[in-house]
Every structure is written in structure tokens, then in C-alpha cells.
């Protein structure tokens, strides 16, 4: 069965790229959001298995959104996909509850490999 994916990013182009890439790898996009606030609202209704999360977004940033989502579902898998390339930010995202960090710009292969690493080979089919 396809894993349910929610994509959170303020760029339509990035949301499209993630959708194109991961729907070829047995994932189904159940929701997209352009900011953290909308992501929190959509999360409960769609119950995704995995979330890709931008960090720099309007209204609610990615770190705050990760905290909010982890409160709703502590077992959610979150891959941060961000341009913020410093180590401190990656470490902070992992401390907040993300399990993986992919730096922009990324290729389709980078994204697929990061997702496989996040989910483990068994979960990804």
C-alpha cells in the first residue's frame, strides 16, 4: 500500500518536484501546505505517514510546525527539506523531532535516497 505523504513548502515549484519524484516511488500525496499553520490544520484530517517540511515559511516556520505535529502524532516521520545549510539548524531540526535533513538544491535522486534512509528499505517497499 502506498505511503501517505504531506508536503509542506512555500514554493509551488518545490511541492511539484517532490510530488513528481515521490509518487514514482509508491507514495501518495494526501495534502500539501505552503506554511506551517495550514499544515497543522490539514494534518489531522489526512493523517499522513510521512511529511516533507521546509523551514523558512510565512505564518508558522518549519521548526514550530514540527513541534506541533509531534504533539499530535509522536510517531510521524518528518524529512526536513530546506536551504538552511548550517549544521546548527540541522541539529536543531533533528532535536525537535525530524528524522532526516535534505539540503536544497536537491536532485530527484537526492530526495529518493533521503526518503529511503528516513523510512528504511522495508517501509519503503
Amino acid at each position: 500500500m502506498a505511503l501517505k505523504l504531506m508536503i509542506v513548502d512555500d514554493s509551488n515549484i518545490i511541492r511539484s518536484k517532490i510530488t513528481r519524484t515521490l509518487t514514482q516511488h509508491d507514495m501518495q500525496v494526501v495534502a500539501t501546505a505552503s506554511n506551517g499553520e495550514d499544515a497543522v490544520k490539514l494534518f489531522g484530517a489526512h493523517k499522513p505517514d510521512v511529511v516533507t517540511m521546509d523551514l523558512t515559511m510565512p505564518r508558522m516556520d518549519g521548526l514550530e510546525c514540527i513541534r506541533a505535529l509531534r504533539k499530535i502524532d509522536p510517531s510521524i516521520s518528518i524529512l526536513v527539506v530546506s536551504a538552511l545549510a548550517d549544521k546548527a539548524t540541522a541539529i536543531q531540526a533533528l532535536k525537535e523531532g525530524a528524522q532526516g535533513f535534505l539540503c536544497k538544491p536537491f536532485s530527484e535522486t537526492d530526495l529518493t535516497e533521503a526518503m529511503e534512509e528516513l523510512l528504511g528499505e522495508d517501509a519503503h517497499g
Binding site: I13, I14, S16, K17, A83, L84, A85, D86, K104, S107
Partner: protein, 148 residues
């Protein structure tokens, strides 16, 4: 800004195009520009910088460059909406990647995208801006870094 910091931005913008399209841009000789005479092409993505450094980083590009870049990244919709989105995302990525060098106190805003209107772009008037002219395929763009 010193030469080494300028080199950081040259490397990042080159790597961005190379990774996304397989072809790095030609980077012209950087020069210092006055706030009243900065390059502006069809679409501009502006990132405000705060924290230890203050100012802005912006990417401004010709429409045709952005259309080609969109097609290279697999996006068939080359509407103005997506051109705006792309120039904002390029500016965001370059500024965000710069934190690898400047650290987490190099705080970046969400992108503000301006279509054509140079007067809407605010850069610090007290500092000169570094302008990096870019040419990718035959299309022109510029990266402008204005930091106190």
C-alpha cells in the same frame, strides 16, 4: 564584505545552476554599485538578512532565463506565477546555503518577489552593494549582495 565572503556567494550561485541544470553560469567580474543604480531584470527575489549581518540578498533575472531554468528542473508550467516562485526560491536557496559559511546568526526572511518594479526593492543606502553579473546560456541575471 571581504573577498572571501564574496567568493562564498559566487560558489553557491555557481553550484546552484550546476546542480539544477548541469551547466554553471558564467560569472562576470563583481563590482560595487550604488543603491540608486542596481541591476533589475524582469523578476527579482529579495531576501532580507538580519542578525549579525543586516541587509539583503537579491536575485534578479531575465524572464527567458527563468523559463529555461524551470524547464530544466522538470516544471512544464512556465506561467508568471511560477517564474515569480522560482526567482524567490533561487534567492532563498542561495541565502540559506550561505549559512554554511556565515552560521545560524545569518538570519534570512521569506522571499519577497518583485516583478519589474525597481523602486519596490529596498537595499541599505549606507552600504555599497556587490553585484555579481551572471549569464546562463545567453540570458542575463545578477546576484546582488548588500550587507552591513
Amino acid at each position: 564584505m571581504d573577498e572571501q565572503q564574496l567568493r562564498v556567494f559566487i560558489d553557491i550561485v555557481s553550484q546552484y545552476f550546476e546542480r539544477q541544470t548541469g551547466k554553471a553560469p558564467e560569472v562576470g567580474s563583481p563590482y560595487l554599485g550604488d543603491a540608486s543604480a542596481l541591476p533589475i531584470y524582469d523578476f527579482t527575489g529579495v531576501i532580507g538578512i538580519s542578525g549579525e549581518r543586516q541587509g539583503c540578498v537579491y536575485v534578479t533575472a531575465h524572464r527567458d532565463l527563468l523559463r529555461q531554468l524551470l524547464l530544466h528542473v522538470g516544471e512544464a508550467d512556465v506561467s508568471d506565477t511560477n517564474l515569480c516562485d522560482l526567482v524567490g526560491e533561487v534567492a532563498n536557496t542561495i541565502s540559506g546555503n550561505a549559512r554554511r559559511y556565515f552560521g545560524p546568526d545569518f538570519m534570512i526572511s521569506v522571499p519577497v518577489v518583485v516583478s519589474g518594479n525597481a523602486r519596490a526593492i529596498q537595499v541599505p543606502r549606507s552600504v555599497k552593494a556587490y553585484i555579481l553579473p551572471l549569464r546562463w546560456h545567453k540570458f542575463e541575471a545578477a546576484l546582488v549582495v548588500s550587507l552591513q
